[in-house]
Symmetry: D2
Subunit: 339 residues, 4 copies
């Protein structure tokens, strides 16, 4: 039984609390949140203690923590819990600043802590089936990947301002999936971005519509399309084209019914957002984390994955600014020179 | 909190134990099964007591029972627990014999017990969405219903011999759905049946392939198609045609991926069988039962529904024997005269 | 080059005139129709003569005729042209009366004339592909067939009155497809019918909604569903279930676009009716007829097929009247005794 | 009746000859091709004369020409026939060299000749329906366009060497569709390209896999994906995302049948290539040309469209070379400076 402390009782914290409750080998021991009311909701629903972060840090009855606090606390908390000998699951991103991520991962390395970064899409049953079809040779060698992700609506403006922007907050998930599907590191990133849905998003210094092309050294390519508004629900598509065929994963609709009438044949809109769309993925993600803690094995989505996805995000942003193709290796090296 | 005793730890019993565990207002207090090993599996997985049926009958800490024992014990157990003042959920069918069902329901009426019969399809989210579309007027008045149900493979021969045959064991679910969709009682049943997949099923006195046409007094019609073998998985389709349009529910595939290659575009086979296909339905069914027990309201799938579906099954069997259209009212009246 | 005379310039006559024009080895030489204006439309569009039926009967420059006149003239015209040594394509049905069909086919046999009956669905590219998949063993042995055919709206009342009713006018196409798919003759027919869309259809002595179950001696079964009203267009579906799998043919929508918005994902309604849905089938049908005339080979849809489909229609009507399963062999033998 | 001379009897010439034969108001008068055998095939199939290009240039009985000769002859022929007072349909591209295209269009302007450039996708019924849905306001304002085009296999190496490369030969169609869908001119082009399917294509100086991002001044964006190999057939997809929804056009499969078995549910591969996929589009394209000639109206796909698509192709190629975003206006102005 892996005994877990949950840091943060907000929206994503509650998603993870629910996920923990669905894993038979995990037990939610304590929740920590400065908002007492939020902590009490989790306590009442799942029957755990309320403790402070400091208490959890020294709790003997807690093996692992799930960090769902605001982004700017992630790196510090990872370092503290790594030093305290706890296994750590941290929501993406580790930090918005590359150098800070690198420093944090150094501490993780030194302490030999288990660190898993939350990229739940890799644990989605459909995307797992897609990846398994590739691994089984059903499409031959991967050549081109197409990712389309659209949110039903943009987050609040104050969230946008703190989020690091569409590339670090939203496309970061696609960057991680792209790396998973390409099976190679990305050599160059080209990107374009606009404000099309709401000028206020531009006033926050962000974009709401963006595209990127990733290219590996061997010439494999990936396009990513992101929009912050989709009237038809939460659009999450992957298609991988290879030498022997293609494999794609369909969206999830609210139900499988189809109404036929004079207007045509209509299937309901997509599931509303990530909490409903990725229920199974969040459960499988936490199950994987618990397995890693129990067996001492390395999580499939590591700190390095967290670092690379944030480097790709920064490369994309640099490409939007300069119009040039940008190398993530230059970003990692502290350079942001165009190719 | 509704405190539940589970009678029967077999396959369907385990499905219901899992469903109970997913309902926050229900608690599994005890499991009863003459097979100790089976009872222990449920006890160990869900942390309940093992008791005998007789002990559960007199347990003060149990409000309701879920009956998953062999069919020939259903009617007796319903009567005993109705008299003991417990709420009762019973797997279909109440009994294979119409007169026995009627006698049992008389006891339920006299004791004013809550009795819910397990027709889980009425609680499936997709079928609920389909029915809601009808209720919202999206297809106008219901005219014709098409039901296609195919099992991946036939049950064991000894099960078939005790099952009452394909109409009472398998098509009974479709009869219930037909009544739900037609919104009227069926006046006549015409049916045909064959042994096509395995001659041994014929030797058991049963069929493996059957069709039926139901017709209501106002002329609404329903066709039902059943097969005991489908290489592509568990086929469960409903389509309702009305004056203003149609609504259909798609099957559930193992995943939503599509592989495209020289052979074409391939989506995986369907989910394997009812335990995986109807997970959400079983959970919603038990949640409804628990709600009814808590609020004292009448379950949506009642003993009357159990009676009518078995009457339709018997009418279908009579139609196969005689070639004629058979009235369920004649079956209920103890007559089986052709129309 | 096969030189063709067309009898009848009505709606279906114009469909066949267009089909002839698309076949490079056929030439439309003359059109005959008592309605001069209708004949002139065909003449002007396709550049042929206008002649009387009597003139065509003795025209040396005409090898074959396509009969698209009213149903009650079919049998007489077939006999006349058979005796005149012309090859004959006749729209279904040969006649509404079984005995008259049988007498007519006797004349065809005696004269050794080529007679093809117009069941265009057998020539539809999708249904051909479906049949080819069966012949290639992709679904194993055929067990159960599901046919669903819905017209967008009913024909005029005066047409209904002369049509012989829904079984002889509409379901006749499904009976022919059923025989093609089952690969065996039908032993019994059970049917039900109602008036649901328009009471005036009942006043014409007909039904607008009907279902049938066909069963062969070996136990293969087919269900057929017909409606005279479908708000979503011309519904034409075939599904064949076999020992190793199933094969189905999808409907044809007005276009392949899908609009996604707050209402859901909407694909346009189906193609409007048989003239647009079966354009390719009508062309392929006439091409097959022309091939048969040129090579002296037997058409795939023969006079016997015309006889059997009308016998099945009459059996279905008898089953509706009596509630019993009816044998087409009894119909053909002049008996209409219940099974 | 528009009387037509066809220049070039190769593959695409035969496609257009067939298209002309399907338009009732057009007549194919003559075919010209230095390969006598090829010209005879067209003559025999469609009953026209064989003439030389010089003869057609002075033929009083020819109103319009369809130019299907090799690309390097297009501009000269357009100029000659424009001066001869003939209406001109020319296959894309007008020329591989921007300056040559511009000079040619100057001659067309001076002579006031009718010039239509062959971008058949704009005439495809499905893409027309998609554009009509946008025009009807079904998706609100256009924001993002996704185009995916994959050929089943690459053309011969000698064709590739003369083709101008994947951007000018293949993606040029997508550039034209992008402009049609965006409704605005493109401000910047970013592109990436690789050789993934066959190193010999790289030896020809070309790529086989390419992606591009187009961005307009108002921020609308379009991604284009091209591959020269797709095992599943000819992949041609358009999706347009707008403020109120999205609209997409599905691919065309070889048939609409679906086979279900242990491997899953399989729909056949896509239609093989452009000759079968775009039959209806080629016919509608020629019908539009004939209408324009008859009414003196301006074709929907003009010489300007031909110019802009080649400018976009060159901009994409420049972007691949330099890694920068390139402005088509700079290309048109004879500059190829990075943004």
């Amino acid at each position: 039984m892996t005994r877990i402390g949950l840091l943060g009782a907000g929206r994503i914290g509650q998603v993870h609390a629910r996920a923990v409750s669905s894993v038979q080998t995990a037990q939610l021991v304590a929740i920590a949140d400065p908002m007492t009311a939020a902590a009490e909701v989790v306590r009442d629903a799942y029957g755990c203690d309320i403790r402070t972060i400091e208490q959890i840090l020294v709790s003997d009855d807690i093996d692992a923590v799930i960090i769902c606090t605001p982004t700017d606390t992630h790196a510090d908390l990872i370092e503290q819990f790594a030093r305290a000998g706890k296994a750590i699951f941290c929501e993406k991103p580790v930090d918005l600043d590359i150098a800070r991520v690198q420093a944090c991962l150094d501490v993780v390395d030194q302490t030999k802590a288990t660190l898993m970064v939350g990229f739940q899409r890799r644990y989605d049953p459909d995307f797992q089936a897609l990846r398994a079809a590739i691994d089984a040779g059903q499409i031959g060698d991967v050549e081109m990947v197409t990712l389309i992700s659209r949110d039903p609506s943009a987050p609040p403006y104050d969230y946008i301002e703190r989020s690091g922007g569409i590339f670090r907050d939203m496309m970061i998930h696609d960057f991680d999936v792209a790396r998973w599907m390409l099976g190679e590191e990305v050599e160059t990133v080209q990107a374009a971005a606009s404000v099309l849905t709401d000028p206020e998003i531009g006033n926050c210094g962000d974009f709401d519509s963006a595209n990127a092309i990733l290219r590996t050294a061997s010439g494999k390519q990936c396009t990513i399309t992101n929009s912050r508004r989709a009237t038809f629900g939460y659009d999450q598509r992957i298609e991988v084209h290879g030498s022997a065929g293609s494999v794609a994963a369909d969206n999830h609709h609210q139900s499988r019914i189809i109404v036929a009438n004079e207007q045509g044949y209509t299937n309901p809109p997509l599931l509303g957002f990530f909490m409903t769309r990725y229920i199974a993925a969040y459960a499988a993600e936490i199950e994987h984390f618990v397995d890693c803690v129990a067996t001492g094995s390395q999580p499939r989505t590591s700190g390095h994955d967290g670092l690379m996805s944030i480097a790709l995000a920064e490369a994309a942003l640099e490409s939007v600014r300069t119009g040039t193709a940008v190398r993530p290796t230059d970003i990692l090296a502290g350079k942001s020179t165009q190719v």
